[in-house]
Symmetry: C2
Subunit: 325 residues, 2 copies
Amino acid sequence: MKNMNSALLNNVSELTKLARKFNCFYLSGLHQGICKPFIVAGHQVGLIRPDVLKYLHRFPEVFRVAGKFVELNPAFRDYQERTVKVAEVLQKLRKDDEICALKGWRDECFEVSTPFYHESLLEMDRSAVCLFGIRNYGVSVTGYLNHPSKGLCIWLQQRSFTKQTWPGKWDCFVSGGLAVGYGILETAVKEAAEEASVVGELVKKLVPAGCVSFYFESERGLFPNTEYVYDLELPLDFVPQNADGEVESFELLTAEECVQRALTPQFKTTSAPVLIDFLIRRGYINPENEPNYRHLVELLHVPLQSIYNWSAEITSNGDDSEMQY
Amino acid sequence: MKNMNSALLNNVSELTKLARKFNCFYLSGLHQGICKPFIVAGHQVGLIRPDVLKYLHRFPEVFRVAGKFVELNPAFRDYQERTVKVAEVLQKLRKDDEICALKGWRDECFEVSTPFYHESLLEMDRSAVCLFGIRNYGVSVTGYLNHPSKGLCIWLQQRSFTKQTWPGKWDCFVSGGLAVGYGILETAVKEAAEEASVVGELVKKLVPAGCVSFYFESERGLFPNTEYVYDLELPLDFVPQNADGEVESFELLTAEECVQRALTPQFKTTSAPVLIDFLIRRGYINPENEPNYRHLVELLHVPLQSIYNWSAEITSNGDDSEMQY
């Protein structure tokens, strides 16, 4: 195998290296087995790292750390009770100011639901979902135009330096998380108005174009992310204007400049999948110029839907002795 | 789980049911554990069903049926020797005329390669790869136009009634398998000329747009398929003409008519992923009109890359303990 590994290293494109970076947890951490499944109402909804686990031990009436897994107290009866009990813990932890991720408290809730059938179980602050490895969903809009001389061009935004996450990094044109109470298109429309002043007739041109899924990990936590992607063809004379103070600047780049920008540390790693997917769908990245094309497409669609299968295994075996990942 | 299953059944769209059909092996057969991993040169390259296994028992000098797996005799030294030995067996089986799939012998070889690093191991006739569950690759072209009054329209082909597989069924505009010696774009260009007389300036407009992957099973065998997809915008006055006798007819349908056609038994099941992917990328199928949108996207990108991991399991218990996927 050693020969093949070195052959592999020689053939891996820069884009594939980037795709491995935004899938670092899928490709590596997931298999190390140091995270414990997080179970709510009999369903695995996440994974918890040891660094988070040590805080949860303080709240045995809420989180039961039972050998191989962590369970939200099954006595909590419903969505509301689970939400309240978890929020109390998170507020205490936030007050203690020990957990990096909670410094970015958002006052915006994400939903936690069962795998497969997407039954809602509870909601928690957006800043906390990465502590539990909860799947999270967002929308991303690629604003582009076919420039008469430069060809395919894409508007990127530079995130505000005051943002809690990825401050000052280059990012997609427009994006936002799917918060409780908002629809998918609705979120795209709202974010397009707030971040780039795309309104009126222009916002009606949003074209949904699929999803990308990847599993990233950082110091802050675990990010099993799915982004609903939208394309928006912009007029040549359109210049985006930020309206919510969350954007430092916008810049129009050629497709090639975008790729180069995405490969720098100045680009938000978890926004690269959206850009790569767009460039693949438009034929800019293609089987003739990308040696790892198929692998790259695979890394834009990792099977998050089947990673959290702990409860399925219990169910099918009658007990938990056959747990597999 | 029972309640949720019935809730699920109530919410499943027709398109999702179709996506489950072309992934019937991924969603069901794969987990039944009745197929044996097929190992070549230490790598799992396929799966073998019991109905095929009984024929392979006749050739112990070529196929070693060793308890949990089937191994191509590891004494075969290289690509050529493996290819010759397997071809001899296949020719004998073909002569015996007992295996349905081999009645469609093609005299066209597909390559068998290692997972992950795609090292070529052998080639075998296209008709036989489904007997061994070998991953197979093809190209599919969606010929479309934006009709001034009807909106998005797509050309479909009806397959010739004399074709060995799916005779008379409705299919994508143009498609073909990736045979040994042909490149990806090269195959798309060749098939577009042969099947639909798309040549000259028009064929230069082929736009690569990604891949779809799914795992189908039929009486004939196992189909872990990956299709490289291409889009081709056609002029309003273009009418495809078949040049190789493999097409019965062509028909221009609206997007909605295409969906309805794909849902009938007259549509080639394994071509539906390409059509659905196209309609998702163009926004025709979207999160607002498809209740299982995300699940549908997932079923167009099932992780074929990590299904055949048998050699990894052997390896992880032995020397190369650091191998990860």
